[in-house]
Symmetry: none
Amino acid sequence: MLQYERFETIMQMLNTGSSVRVTDLSRALGVSESTIRRDINDLAAAGRLRKVFGGAVPLDNGEAPADGTPAFAGLPPKHMVNTRSLDLETKETIQADEKQEVAAKAATLIEEGDLVYIDAGTTTGSMIDQITCTGAVFVTNGIRHALRLADRGLKSYLLSGRVKASTEAVIGHEAVDSLGRWHFTKSFIGTDGIDRECGLTTADIDESMVKTEAIRRSKEVFVLADGSKFGLVASVTFAPLDAGTVITDHLPDPGYREQLKLVEIHK
Amino acid sequence: MLQYERFETIMQMLNTGSSVRVTDLSRALGVSESTIRRDINDLAAAGRLRKVFGGAVPLDNGEAPADGTPAFAGLPPKHMVNTRSLDLETKETIQADEKQEVAAKAATLIEEGDLVYIDAGTTTGSMIDQITCTGAVFVTNGIRHALRLADRGLKSYLLSGRVKASTEAVIGHEAVDSLGRWHFTKSFIGTDGIDRECGLTTADIDESMVKTEAIRRSKEVFVLADGSKFGLVASVTFAPLDAGTVITDHLPDPGYREQLKLVEIHK
DNA sequence: CAAACATGGTCAAAGTCAATCAAATTATTT
DNA sequence: AAATAATTTGATTGACTTTGACCATGTTTG
């Protein structure tokens, strides 16, 4: 195992847990305690962690090191993230600004007393931080979404069902069933593609079932789609074009204007 | 457990409660009273808390509101510990090693073909990383648990219901309802307290309902409890002592041996 | 006052540390 | 391709730190 890999692993363990011990690391990485000690010393010298007797702990946030001390080349970058969730993290940066705008607009539509369904997905996820209305109830199939909603002190419910790791969503027929008791006033749905012929499409059949049912059970439906989604078609159609009001930052083809209920954001 | 972690935990407890006792800390952290005394002395020397006879209080601007907090006025059993208010990260560091051992043992009990329920909680959470059996199906009410299970490529299902932010669990009667379809071969339940009189207890009534129902729907039940849980009583009893097999690292009082189905871990 | 409890000091045992050195690995030169 | 240099690693060492048990002393409570 390369030194760099150990550095990565140690930092990752510190990010997720709150401390690491020399003994545990030695066992976990299959190297001697001497080596772990050296690693911890290096990382501490580079200002990436705090050495304590028996192991190491993450830096207190105020303890951030001066950036001008890159004493050790070959350390993983500071903004290193959990590699496991990299897929989703990467996805979140794609068209981030546009998604943000669309999400911000959508968030303003939530009113006191609403029962809101928020679909799993990155665009709908951005909504959560921008919700100001505290008097609504939220239902979602996005696992991260549920955590963030609850964290913000909003009343939130999660659907049951199979967990899909890559999108961190709850999906499948069980999720559809557990939608059965709800009647939403508003639902906010993400989409992988909007196309004149194929309607609203997504990549996963199990996710599409949940979207379709949520739309069916909702009085008002909003589809969140940044401009890049127009003209794209994914494997499964979950609703026709006119199933809801589309919120977008940019309409590449004016021809859609006649077929869509539309909220366009003008900067 | 690292000294540093104890420091953090003690300060955390002081921030959320108004005082801590040497006896309780010793019990909660699983170290001797000598050690706690030393810790308190160190923290006091560092000017981070105020030492008082029997424990410590925060050194906030307004003088500490002495003993006799109303929460403990109503004659709860002597050893009652209030871990409810601790955030999840702190909770995770308490007795971390012991939990790990208990969790490791529990993980070995899962076999091919099992339908396993994993209760939300930190001890049960440690199980997940140690599960080797890939041929089982997992159901949980722990939101992080579900993500980690799925991340590890294990087939996992999440219950529906209200999301409780502080424990990152799905709870309430809806969660109980969504247990309705399942019949588990094995379930792994965490507990806040094990007491001869009060049985298995937990701090939250809505969490207790879920635990009770999961136990009812399970052929085999395993209760995960590190040694520090014995003799503790939390607000709500969710099952009698003999509801399942208790897995523990250490039995402080041999008297329990006659009342429990027991798996004891010997190092 | 007496019983119960809390405290700090001492000690032995266990755990952790940095320094050192030889073996193994990797990089560079010949 | 072989030889050499540089680096990394694991084992060992003695010094140091932390820990839990014990106990004489001090404090609280009824």
